[in-house]
Amino acid sequence: MNETELIQALLDGKEDAFRQAVKDYQPSMMQVARALVGPAIADEVVQEAWVSVIKALPGFQARASLKTWILRIVSNGAKTRLRKESRIQARGDLADLEQIASMSERFNNNGHWQHGPGNWSLDEPDALIGVDELKTLISKSLDQLPEIQRSVFILREQHGLDMEEICKILDISASNSRVLLHRARLRLWQAIEKAEN
């Protein structure tokens, strides 16, 4: 079903439409909820968001894609939840001092590489680690990222949202979003670099 057909089928209350919507949108909804309220109550926020989606769907005007609209509902719900509980979600990972320190050691005072990247390539058949191991390593590294970094990365790279949408959904500035994305990417590179060396 394309988006227009899906919306109509949802409005008609068709079960297979709900099944498709859950499969298509729940992963990114969870990602947004986790980024904003943390993993402990992300499930509840997503459940509440689905209720809001059902109620508001008749008024959906297609000014944005259905996905973006749903994710904004999640985002608004998460922020409301945070306000109700008087919580401030820690976003301290913007500093990410450990990563900054480890990369800066690789450069000298003139900004040139002091310890260059190792001589490896994922294209080479005799790479030290195989594809399955690489995927496990990437998965582990993504899990270890600060929540907000992981969310920006996954929403951008795996869910295909553009950065402007991500900024609105996660309530971060454009410059912060680019920094978070770069740091997530850099951490992945560092994890593979460590394993390959």
Binding site: Q26, W50, P117, S121, S139, F153, H159, R178, H182, R185
Partner: protein, 77 residues
Amino acid sequence: MASDYRDRKLSFWQRSQMRLHLFICHHCRRFLTQYTQVNDLAATHSCNKHEPDEETVNQQVADLMKLVNSDKPDSQK
């Protein structure tokens, strides 16, 4: 800069400077190749996408259908 170069967010001038630097600096060239390869692989690898299993989907759908049906007048159920 590496991230912006990969995403084509640099201006024409910045991109040209970057290309010139990559022509000269083999460390940066190697880094950018590796950075791109790792991230391309991570982008296509979906294990962190929190895709729901069949049981979760069934439960979620059942909950949503209950909600939808509870909003309908009895004659439409």
